[in-house]
């Protein structure tokens, strides 16, 4: 009895119900209330089983809800587990714009008024999909997946300074939105600051933490006239390339290294024949 994990959802499947049925009535009914000496949250009867009216009355008396489902125990436990996981997973709200760019979830953050919404709008115009603007709900699924979505009230609405509230889904159609997306890259927009050394090679990647999960973090300095939309697309594509095992910065660095090694060799190994064939005569 000490090992009874009473704070969990109690599931009664065929085995438990058959056991209860196997007991004679004079034993079954007095023994049932002992279950409620513990503060159990609810009972779920699976595979279409039901509680006898006498037992159901005892549960009701103790204020414990009883549910029944037609699903088998394995399936019911899976659904309940998944649902509870979703409901109790760590959540946070992030002030930013969240867009699916070429299938990569890019979350734009930065101070109020820096132009997150405008960048999102520009990306939507170019065929990418808005997940949420201004209020991005992020939940952690399992240990390492961050899921971002909009709140139910302001789903796919956006505020653009000077225009007010606009409904992206109505204006751009259903292809311009999606309901949730994994957060894969965080892009921090900031005013160009001469005192900060921005990465020039991309070899030194940085990460940020959301709900204890590390996400690639890019500090993007902006100034009027800079095409942040195109840069955002490149960020997403570069992330995609890295995902498939190609790191642009590393690749360039490797090429340089090979060339330097060849030059260091007294005997130049580059083949003049290959150079000649690759030459463009146009």
């Amino acid at each position: 009895m000490e090992l009874f994990t009473f704070h969990r959802v109690q599931v009664m499947g065929n085995t438990e119900v058959n056991y209860l049925r196997s007991l004679p009535a004079e034993q079954r009914i007095p023994s049932f209330p002992r279950l409620f000496e513990f503060d159990i949250p609810c009972i779920i009867m699976t595979a279409g089983n039901t509680l006898e009216p006498e037992l159901l009355a005892i549960a009701t008396e103790h204020g414990v809800p009883v549910f029944t489902t037609k699903y088998e125990t394995t399936k019911a436990v899976y659904f309940v587990g998944d649902f509870l996981d979703d409901q109790f997973s760590p959540k946070t709200i992030i002030h930013g714009a969240f867009v699916d760019v070429y299938g990569i979830g890019v979350l734009f953050v930065g101070r109020s008024g820096i132009g997150k919404s405008e960048i999102a709008l520009d990306l939507i115009e170019r065929g990418h999909r808005l997940v949420a603007d201004d209020v991005v709900m992020v939940i952690r699924k399992g240990e390492s997946i961050l899921m971002g979505s909009g709140s139910s009230l302001v789903k796919h609405f956006m505020e653009v300074r000077g225009l007010g509230l606009i409904d992206i889904r109505s204006i751009f159609g259903v292809r311009s939105v999606r309901f949730q997306k994994r957060v894969e890259v965080v892009v921090q927009l900031e005013e160009w600051d001469d005192t900060i050394e921005y990465t020039r090679t991309g070899l030194d990647t940085s990460e940020t933490e959301i709900l204890g999960v590390s996400v690639p973090h890019i500090r993007l300095p902006i100034f009027p006239g800079k095409n942040v939309t195109v840069i955002s697309e490149v960020i997403a594509l570069n992330h995609l390339l890295k995902h498939y095992g190609h790191d642009s910065a590393l690749e360039f660095s490797r090429r340089l290294q090979t060339m330097l090694e060849q030059k260091a060799d007294a005997d130049d190994k580059s083949d003049p024949m290959i150079d000649w064939l690759e030459h463009d005569f146009e």
Binding site: I93, H95, S112, G113, D134, V135, F157, M158
Partner: protein, 88 residues
């Protein structure tokens, strides 16, 4: 950092017009302004954020101000809540 607890007093709650008024005032200040309700914190300078709260009459909000002009911002914004946004 300044923290204040306020209650929504007007009948209609924190709907579009008061939300717009709130954001307008908050944006005048340099300080960061956050509103917390039911464990969620949103940026008080974002109209979408404020509207997401869907704060009804009687609900309490925690206001958080942080920055160089946090005192003035707190006074100004709390006044708006105390007056029920000038609505019945």
């Amino acid at each position: 950092m300044i923290e204040r607890e306020v209650m929504i007093k007007n009948k209609a709650g924190l709907h579009t017009r008061p939300a717009a008024a709130l954001v307008k005032i908050a944006s005048r200040y340099q300080s960061d302004f956050f509103i917390e309700k039911d464990g969620f914190e949103i940026n008080g300078k974002s109209i979408i954020g404020v509207m997401t709260l869907a704060a009804e009459r009687g609900s309490t909000l925690r206001l958080i101000f942080e920055g160089p002009d946090e005192n003035d911002a707190a006074i100004d914004i709390c006044k708006l809540f105390d007056e029920g946004f000038g609505e019945p």
